[in-house]
């Protein structure tokens, strides 16, 4: 579904991503992790077309992402911080988005998260008056709303309360069962290990490891993602 070949990205002269080669397919749920400044957000921005790669090719469903915007139809994105137009209320935002997404037929919206996160209770409120967590809920509901086959979630659980957090995780797991591709970044590894079946670890713009959760588990004989990461990092240091 996503094929990244030899991606390199520089900001001014600093290299933020180098020699990134990744292939992700349906049914995978990727935990995209790495320390601050390792290039996770840049990678996501490139996938969304917000940043332009310097070299390399990226294909989403066999479409070269530098040619045309249609590939983004299959992507749902939940940003880390969202600032919505303050004067709109939640309902109006969704209706605006529906108008912008004429490619999605009228009955094909997925409002389950909208309902489950009890957004209807505050849908008349202006977006400018919502709390950070509520905005995050709106943002999550919006990401799933148009039934995308690829979901990109940037720190989805950071501002959510425990109940909403669980609702979102259930939603993500059902999306995996529905054969979608999910890419999640987070620093809360305990959240990630419940929803991810694949780990990509970025460090200083390079892929340190990229493997299924199961294989990492047997390789490191650790149980939690946190410990697996630590053990793998120690192995790397010993190799170096």
């Amino acid at each position: 579904m996503i094929d990244i070949q030899n991606l390199q990205k520089y900001y001014s002269r600093q290299c933020v991503l180098s020699e990134v080669n990744l292939t992700y397919t349906r049914g995978q749920s990727i935990a995209l992790i790495g320390p601050n400044g390792s290039g996770k957000t840049t990678l996501i921005k490139i996938l969304l077309g917000l940043a332009i790669p310097d070299t390399g090719n990226i294909y989403v469903n066999q479409n070269d992402i530098t040619k045309g915007h249609e590939y983004r139809r299959s992507i749902g994105y939940m940003p880390q911080i969202t600032r919505f137009p303050e004067q709109l209320n939640v309902k109006q935002l969704f209706s605006l988005m529906r108008q912008l997404r004429t490619d999605v037929p009228g009955n094909n919206y997925d409002a389950s998260l909208y309902e489950e996160l009890s957004i209807p209770t505050f849908e008349e409120k202006r977006l400018g008056t919502l709390s950070g967590g509520m905005k995050q809920q709106v943002s999550a509901a919006l990401a799933f709303y148009f039934n995308p086959s690829i979901l990109i979630l940037d720190e989805p659980t950071a501002a959510l309360d425990p109940v909403s957090n669980e609702i979102l995780k259930v939603k993500i797991r059902s999306a995996i069962d529905n054969n979608k591709l999910i890419i999640t970044t987070s620093h809360i590894l305990s959240d990630l290990e419940e929803i991810a079946n694949h780990v990509t670890y970025l460090m200083e713009g390079k892929i340190l490891f990229n493997d299924t959760m199961d294989r990492l588990r047997t390789e490191t004989s650790e149980n939690t993602l946190n410990k697996m990461v630590v053990s793998l990092l120690q192995q790397e240091i010993q190799h170096a």
Partner: protein, 255 residues
């Protein structure tokens, strides 16, 4: 694209700064005619405001607005929408809002109280100056990533067009006063949109008689119908070129 403009416009019309700007322009436009008994003089006073205040507010507001709405632009950019449509939508939304404010504050009173070529040119130049400075402000916003630096650049841009450029030209005129430089000055005045607008309007008024020798050259050029058309075209170019550059930049840039 027009849907995006509609959202931007809706957002702008509820903006307090835009409302304050409307009040300011209303005071100038309507107030000047109430206060001044000769409409011709009132038009010239309004011209001064249009030449100084309009670029300043348009520049600062537009750049600030661009920085402020960046996250929302991200959300839109992540949708299957062409980047150029988003940019054009933003520009159109801003242009409609500013032109509406200008029309209510300045346009209506001028049309009501002072008809004639001079007023027509005042409105035309005000309209085009709006478009020019929105385009320049977006150029700064897209070109400079850092917000505070961007605002600084807009302020310098404003100062440059409002008085620094004129200062330089006058300095040069004094230095070269022994040479026939009238035609050179004519060309130089086209390099500043504020100057084009100023000369365009003044030449249609009787005050142009006060402009002395180079005034005569200006009168020869700007006073004619051809001169009027050329200066309007020049202002249109002044809005199209920054728009086009920014548009190109916006399409190929990391955001």
């Amino acid at each position: 694209m027009l849907k995006i403009s509609a959202v931007i416009l809706q957002n702008l019309l509820r903006n307090k700064a835009i409302f304050g700007y409307l009040v300011l322009l209303c005071f100038t436009g309507w107030g000047m005619f109430l206060y001044e008994s000769q409409p011709e003089k009132a038009v010239l006073s309004i011209l001064q405001i249009v030449l100084l205040v309009l670029p300043l507010i348009t520049l600062i507001f537009t750049t600030t607005y661009y920085y402020h709405s960046q996250e929302f632009l991200f959300l839109l950019l992540a949708q299957p929408i062409k980047r150029s449509d988003i940019f054009a939508g933003l520009y159109i939304g801003l242009a409609i809002a500013f032109l509406a404010v200008f029309f209510i504050g300045i346009g209506l009173p001028v049309l009501l109280f002072a008809s004639g070529m001079q007023s027509l040119f005042l409105l035309l130049s005000g309209l085009l100056l709006n478009l020019v400075f929105i385009a320049i402000a977006l150029l700064v916003g897209v070109g400079v990533h850092d917000k505070s630096r961007g605002i600084g650049v807009t302020l310098i841009t404003w100062a440059f067009f409002a008085f620094i450029y004129n200062g330089l030209v006058i300095f040069m005129m004094y230095q070269l006063s022994d040479y026939p430089i009238e035609n050179l000055i004519l060309v130089l005045s086209f390099l500043n949109p504020v100057d084009i607008a100023r000369i365009m309007v003044i030449m249609k008024s009787e005050a142009s008689a006060l402009l002395g020798l180079s005034g005569a050259v200006f009168q020869d050029f700007f006073g004619t119908a051809k001169g009027g058309v050329v200066s309007i075209l020049a202002l249109i170019l002044w809005s199209i070129i920054p728009f086009w550059i920014t548009h190109k930049m916006f399409r190929k840039r990391d955001l």
